[in-house]
Amino acid sequence: MSVKVQIPLPLRGLAGGLSEVEATGNSVREIIDDLEASYPGVRERLFRGDEELNRFVSIFVGGRDIRLLEGLETAVSEGDVITILPLAAGG
């Protein structure tokens, strides 16, 4: 499955400055693996240690938090939009 991934500001440096990239995979986990292959360092910016629980970011598939779906095993469909969203700091 080919999906669109929205890249947040702090990760754009790793993704060549792009705010949206294409990635392929059948689940969120596979999408992240694919991102890591294209843009090394992405995974480390998303997780600490135990991936399932120690997220620095929220991940949404079609606007829905994967916490409400199947977590990293959430299936993705062709053309889905995946949003990677860190907590923003500025005020």
Binding site: N54, S58, G63, R67, A89, G90, G91
Partner: protein, 341 residues
């Protein structure tokens, strides 16, 4: 002159608020933590809307580069070196003398946050760093006071409501605070004023709805990009996460188990800032950001940068020594602004 009873007529005509809602607002207390772009916008909205008691807490003074977006301040405030909390109080008293407004000049931390938020019906987030937000989250859950998260950097903004026991909290969504140096801040990524204006305005109306007990309280995470014009509402669910430590009563930021530690280095006019976790700073990346701000040099062991009249020396593990001050909150503030925490 028209009677001041006319003051709120245009919002009481609006059925969602009405006279009953206005009476509730007049009896309410809101604490705004952080009075930068978000805080000045929300303080202005809420003071004018007639919130009975408004406490505005901020640790900073006003600088020229704040005037681009911090709408309560002016050039006289910069020249007279008025702290933001005090300037906000003074300006807002002129906008509405019929409510209580209290500006408090303080660095909010785990020791004082419970005192500073005592009596609040809603807490509004206007801070410039993540650590204080996790602290607000803890105090909100512990004392069952709703808070409204808001943040803006670059052309992006985010906001969501945290209603203890009824909605996910910030740690349900973001269980771990990102390592220092990995967060975009307004001081390194810049900020387009419209982003905090929109977010501050949304935070204010959410506070009003929560105070009134309106049905229409937002239960989603709202994101905006004012540059591309993209607005999103993201579904975050309608209950706290069973895995969330804070929602299970473990207030780790309030207990100071996480968060930066500062130590004044005796006799050196310097303060050390130590951040939790296993940060691994990329000097190359940081140097690129810092070049816009001040003179910067680095080798594999340390990075030096001159900012705001201080010198900050950073180490790869995220530790910093801020030279030119003995004030721990100044050092922590600089770290939050330029490295990010």
């Amino acid at each position: 002159m028209q009677p001041h009873t006319d003051r709120y007529s245009r919002q009481t005509i609006f059925p969602g608020i009405g006279r009953a809602g206005q009476t509730k607002l007049a009896k309410s207390t809101v604490v705004i933590i952080g009075c930068g772009a978000l805080g000045t916008v929300s303080a202005a909205c809420l003071a004018r809307a007639g919130i009975g008691r408004l406490r505005i807490v901020d640790r900073d003074f006003i600088e020229y580069h704040n005037l681009q977006r911090q709408i309560l301040f002016d050039e006289d405030d910069v020249k007279n070196q008025i702290p933001k909390a005090i300037a906000a109080e003074r300006h807002l008293r002129r906008a509405n003398s019929s409510i209580e407004i209290e500006g408090v000049v303080a660095d909010v931390n785990y020791r004082n946050i419970e005192r500073l938020t005592a009596g609040a019906d809603v807490i509004l987030d206007g801070v410039d760093n993540l650590e204080t937000r996790y602290l607000i989250n803890d105090v909100s859950l512990k004392h069952r006071v709703p808070w409204v998260y808001g943040a803006a950097v670059s052309s992006d903004g985010l906001t969501m409501n945290v209603i203890p026991g009824r909605t996910p909290c910030i740690r349900c969504l973001f269980p771990v605070m990102p390592a220092s140096g990995r967060v975009a801040t307004c001081d390194t990524a810049g900020v387009v004023s419209s982003a905090p204006f929109i977010i501050g305005a949304l935070q204010s109306v959410e506070a009003i709805k929560i105070l009134i007990g309106a049905e229409d309280v937002n239960r989603e995470l709202i994101t905006i990009d004012v540059w591309t014009g993209a607005f999103q509402r993201l579904q975050i669910g309608d209950s706290p996460s069973p895995d969330c430590p804070a929602c299970q009563g473990k207030y780790e930021f309030l207990e100071a188990r996480f968060g930066a530690r500062t130590t004044s280095l005796c006799g050196q006019n310097a303060v050390q800032v130590v951040v939790p976790g296993d940060a691994e700073l990329s000097f190359e990346e940081l140097a690129k950001r810092f070049r816009e701000i001040g003179e910067v040099s680095y080798n594999e062991f340390m990075l030096r940068v001159a900012v705001d009249g201080y010198e900050m020396v950073l180490f790869p593990d995220g530790r910093a020594i801020v030279k030119g001050t003995n004030d721990e909150s100044v050092a922590k503030g600089l770290y939050a602004k330029y490295v990010g925490m």
